[in-house]
Amino acid sequence: MVTPRTAWLFLAPALLVLALVAGWPLGRTVFFSLTDARLDALEEWRFLGLSNYTFLLTDPDWWGAVRVTLVFAVVSVTLETVLGLIIALTLNARMRGRGVVRAAMLVPWAIPTVVSAQMWAWMLHDQHGVVNAALMGMGLIAQPLAWTAEPGVALAAVIAVDVWKSTPFMALLTLAALQLVPNELYEAAKVDGLGPVGTFFRITLPLIWPALLVAILFRTLDALRVFDLMYVLTGNSRATASMSVHARQLLVDFQDVGYGSAAATMVALVVALVAVALVTLGRLRLSPAGRA
């Protein structure tokens, strides 16, 4: 048997590494957020107290980034959940070639976000993009749109790319949950004369709900810290800058480590708050599976 003492011994290497690469930098970031440190002279700081935070809370650029991030997270996760559910229900039907479709869907999930952002940036190109050509060919738009530069549509474009990349992830997790629903329940529903819609809302959805909620939680937390997609697709444009993009711009481009660290700490706080809210509202129990 493994005694508690030995257990800690086996845990020690991993915990020490995590304390060094996660714990310590996090503590330093919080500390920097109380100072006026600059990137080129990290050692020369003055203690400022909470003034970075009070300034941040009156900064319209910060609130713009919060708004962009929340809109992005809510819209993209909602679309991904609904589309993922539709795709999963389709793939759950017995059919030939299901494996091929499932493999095809893993690919967008597996490629780097940077690659998907570049592929879509080219497709959405204002003059030579295939999207504008197709939409104009169908007569849906009269002139080419500058998808990634026009503030009115840029966020929609960013969301569309995220939906393309992340829907497969939702679909696969939903499909895994669907496959655990016992077949007898569907047969019983048929005997009771429940139609397909009734079966979905009375049987399928309640049974997959816990798994779906966990997937939604993971996707939401992922969406709230989004960085790569906006950075590559639209640069530092205010119309699409997420909280992470904004914080990094302050830290690196403006070299303002004190103020940027305050923004970064707030990002962590927002993510933590949303996580707590979702776990409490959804009454989720998160633990590794197996014997409890």
């Binding site: 493994v2 845990l11 893993l106 190109h125 790569d228 993510v271 590794p288």
Partner: protein, 275 residues
């Protein structure tokens, strides 16, 4: 009649899903084979397919070096994470001690943490260690997100193994270390392949740390290199090159996904859906 229509509609839906998922890849391949002014014509197939973008991406850019960098970083991260996580997961899954539940909760929180929140502290740490613009700095920093996740998934896997295994080992007088390395490690091999693969993909795709902690073209990893490809003119990006580079890094991933499809799905659900 209704059945035929239903089947047709179903086939149409599957075709639509496939088109939506795969068209961007098709377009990237087609664009990467167009050279010169052909690139600016929206045509479903290049008039004169050419490899010039593929040769140029290795000649004009240190893209070969970037790929090696990514392989080195992601490979090292996987090996270090698996070694540390196997030992930690053994303790978390097979021992009862105070603070175990809290530890698992903390690990989950760390793996969900926004990376930007450690950025300034990490930058200072990496510079203090002399690892700025060094691949080892990336290996170290990537452990932040690969380690909690590998520990979590391996713990879930180890808990499924029967208790009798340890009892038998203890009867034979095996120490916990021997039990872990001789008995559990071989059994963990499939789970390690799956988690290792997921960790590899995560490290291969990482962008924020790689962008911030490296400086020169030669030290960049693939995602940063693809984000930063610039052409001779400042006003027009070399889209042919960018698409060629995108295709080059996507092909091995497609291959991995095809080979390990089942395992990847199982790993994803083990990590996420056990509520």
């Amino acid at each position: 009649m209704r059945r035929v229509l239903g089947r047709l509609g179903f086939a149409l839906l599957v075709a639509l899903i496939l088109f939506y998922t795969l068209f961007p890849f098709y377009w990237a391949v087609v664009s990467s084979l167009k050279s010169g002014p052909d690139l600016f014509l929206v045509e479903a197939w290049p008039r004169a397919p050419a490899w010039s973008n593929y040769t140029a991406v290795f000649q004009d850019q240190p893209f070969g070096r970037n790929i090696l960098n990514s392989v080195f970083v992601a490979g090292s991260v996987v090996l270090v994470s698996l070694a540390l996580a196997a030992s930690a997961a053994y303790a978390l899954a097979r021992a009862q001690f105070r603070g175990r539940g809290m530890l698992l909760g903390t690990l989950l929180c760390v793996s969900m943490f926004p990376q930007v929140a450690v950025l300034s502290g990490l930058f200072e740490l990496i510079r203090a260690l002399g690892l700025y613009n060094n691949l080892l700095g990336l290996v170290l920093s990537y452990l932040i997100f690969t380690l909690p996740f590998t520990i979590w998934v391996l713990t879930a896997f180890l808990r499924e193994l029967p208790l009798e295994l340890e009892e038998a080992a203890a009867m034979d007088g095996a120490t916990p270390f021997v039990t872990l390395t001789r008995i559990f490690l071989p059994l963990m091999a499939p789970a390690m392949v799956t988690t290792g693969l997921l960790a590899f993909i995560a490290a291969w795709n990482e962008f924020l740390f790689a962008l911030t902690l490296t400086l020169t073209n030669e030290m960049r990893t693939v995602p940063v290199a693809i984000a930063m490809i610039t052409g001779s003119s400042r006003y027009e990006l070399p889209w042919g090159l960018i698409m060629a580079a995108s295709v080059i890094v996507t092909v091995p991933l497609v291959f991995l996904v095809l080979v390990f499809q089942r395992r990847l799905v199982a790993g994803l659900t083990a990590g996420a859906v056990k509520g």
